[in-house]
Symmetry: C2
């Protein structure tokens, strides 16, 4: 059976094809055996169809031997049927069993949520057959397409920067060391310095690629390996970058509202997002938190408790701007009052999903900032030297794709926003 | 000067705007000072324009202080001019110097090729300002867009798989070890096993992401970190995968012929590519090589010398199919004559740019092949267990993006097909 050339996708089969012979391929999500009649649900890339096998069908005994999850090819006649899902069924005339399943998954494929994450992750490929997860990852792809389309329309060029680097971007915290031939290197926790350099030649650049952070804590919002959407543009400042990010978020939501209707329905997601997103300065929020009796002093980063409290005050996306310079990375540009910086975080309730800033484009200033953060400028020699050739003013942001997806799909655990999560305890599959 | 909102890109300025006032931003590629008149070439994202400053211009002395590569903003009047490039010049009325350059690059920005690669790589961000390189990377982006558009039209879904893994995909060769929290891990040399698993839930998947290979030799066609275009599809075999790859190559070339006209002109590139690409079996080519007196026996991989000889025989893209099973990875499916496998390489003259195959989808068979290649099936437990749940037949390929770009842009050195190359000697910038 060399069926591929005749293969049709299930989504193409409707009652208009009544009487036609079609070839379908996929896996079996359920088998209901009523003795004289069997209903076998076949799933492919984006849809599901009922195969109806009666006792008088020559294939009846072969279908009897099948098990859920088996991979099969079926040739059959399309038949309108009031009782079948979507009003159609397939009466099979040919069956090819590609791969029979030998195990039963320890969870139901129809469950919307299964609390035991590790049980699922141990056979993630099977877990991903659940409709809920497949919908999440189709929306994820929709978001990726939206982001790329938006940035392309805004004349950005896609770049790729090295993931194996010689020194830390944002201080030494949370780096994975690599053995690079005969010396030590690290996995990049951000493409920050590279994307900044690339504005010199390309003006507007973006990269969508893995970043690596050796997060020692196991939380529901951190991954050791995540996808970062990094955007950087010459001749803009952080207020422009915020507008760009806001437009990108809105564009993505409009895109999936248009192209992922079915998945949004399955996940029961509705949106009520408009721009501009509220903007609060760091200082304003510190004052408000203090009014609520929160423990925090100006100059400190928000604790998990502070963020929870903020999350309760807010509704959806909002910016926190003008952070204290000393708690932001060395490349963030201070304002004329040097204690405060041209920086922002994009939040969704209690979750930070993006950080950005105007960047320093003057060598002496960035060296100064490195030193005040305890970094050795010599280890950034390869970065600093390009400042001697006319570094333009620039700004940008990094958006955590998985966290953005969490806010879209209302996910509690970031692990369901990535295919094969990595954390301190998990390196497999 | 808060110029961004009024900024226009140089490519938008034509003689139709004669007399208009515009705001432009970019860097200076050349200054010709004739005493009483200066010609300053300003470059932005995709074009270049002449700024003409006469002695009676109040900005004359300030322009005199400028140096090549400096980052500036200019407000000025558009003026038609027969003698200026593109028939237009800008008469400046306002100048903002964002960043003055302090160094002169050790190579000319106008050179088409500069043999000393290390000299260039040490200040890569400046090197990338060369028109030749900017054109290559715009074509690279064109190819990426083409590939994504092609795969999307063919109903593939984009995935991302982990780059930090617990065991080698294709044997232990050439892996970078990582210190993963308190244990050893490796950087993925391919998303192979993950993309295969993902066909179970998503049918047709692709990933465009970095791969890592600790290549001990420094050649002009190997990188320690490269971008791989990985494609995998359920219910097809290697002949279908070859057609898919062929279509993807043709689609990409047609795309850049349509959208990268200017860059192709700058690089003086013409195409003469039609499908189908010639297909030769491994065995045929061994015989032909032997006719030419080459040193090779059936069962051996082609040496660099063999490939050079093949390159001389061929003209452009061609497939080498049906390789000996034992020199291909364990997941490649053997034919009924088990010595030979359902495998292919896509070549361009002497350069391999892609490898693909039908994959084994039966657990016992893949364990058998692992053992015969000296691999321990236990270390693949997390992969093998999903075979128990109905693994569909599938096939796919990995395409080296940089190598593909080399064949498009006629590059001799793979380092010019990537922004910041990594090899045994180079970890910076």
């Amino acid at each position: 059976m060399r069926l591929f050339k005749e293969r049709r996708y299930i989504s193409m089969i409707s009652s208009e094809r009544d009487g036609e012979e079609v070839t379908l391929m996929g896996w079996i999500s359920s088998i209901r055996d009523h003795g004289n009649i069997m209903f076998v649900m076949l799933v492919d890339r984006d849809d599901e169809i009922q195969i109806t096998v009666k006792r008088d069908n020559p294939l009846f005994t072969r279908f009897k031997e099948l098990k859920e999850h088996s991979s099969i090819g079926v040739k059959g006649i399309v038949k309108s049927s009031k009782n079948a899902p979507r009003g159609i069924e397939i009466i099979p005339t040919l069956l090819e069993v590609f791969s029979i399943s030998k195990m039963i998954p320890p969870f139901s494929i129809y469950s919307k949520s299964i609390p035991n994450m590790d049980l699922r992750l141990d056979i993630r490929a099977i877990d991903l057959r659940r409709n809920t997860l497949r919908s999440i990852f189709k929306i994820r792809y929709g978001i990726l397409k939206a982001i790329r389309e938006f940035l392309d329309k805004n004349n950005f060029i896609e770049v790729n920067t090295p993931k194996m680097i010689s020194s830390a971007t944002e201080g030494g915290a949370a780096l994975f060391p690599i053995f690079y031939f005969n010396r030590e290197a690290f996995l990049a926790q951000s493409p920050q310095l590279y994307k900044e350099q690339l504005t010199m030649a390309f003006d507007s650049v973006f990269e969508i690629a893995p970043i690596f952070r050796a997060e020692p804590s196991r939380t529901n919002r951190h991954l050791a390996e995540a996808i970062s959407v990094d955007v950087e543009k010459a001749f803009i400042d952080y207020t422009d970058a915020m507008e760009l990010l806001e437009d990108l978020i809105i564009y993505s939501i409009e895109y999936i509202k248009k192209y992922n209707i079915k998945e949004l329905e399955i996940l029961n997601i509705k949106f009520d997002v408009t721009k501009p997103f509220p903007r609060y300065t760091y200082t304003e929020l510190i004052d408000r938190l203090k009014e609520y009796g929160a423990k925090i002093e100006w100059g400190e980063d928000f604790s998990t408790e502070n963020l929870k409290l903020l999350g309760e005050m807010m509704n959806g996306y909002y910016f926190i701007t003008d952070w204290p310079t000393k708690i932001k990375p060395f490349y963030a540009k201070p304002k004329s009052d040097a204690k405060i910086s041209e920086t922002f975080d994009l939040m969704h309730n209690e979750l930070e999903i993006s950080s950005g800033s105007s960047r320093i484009n003057v060598k002496e200033e960035i060296i100064e900032r490195m030193k005040s953060q305890g970094l050795n400028p010599n280890s950034f020699d390869y970065h600093l030297r390009v400042f001697d050739y006319g570094m333009p003013p620039h700004a940008g942001f990094g958006l955590g794709l998985e966290r953005f997806l969490m806010t879209i799909c209302k996910l509690d655990n970031i692990r369901d926003a990535t295919f094969y999560p990595r954390d301190i305890e998990r390196l497999t599959p």
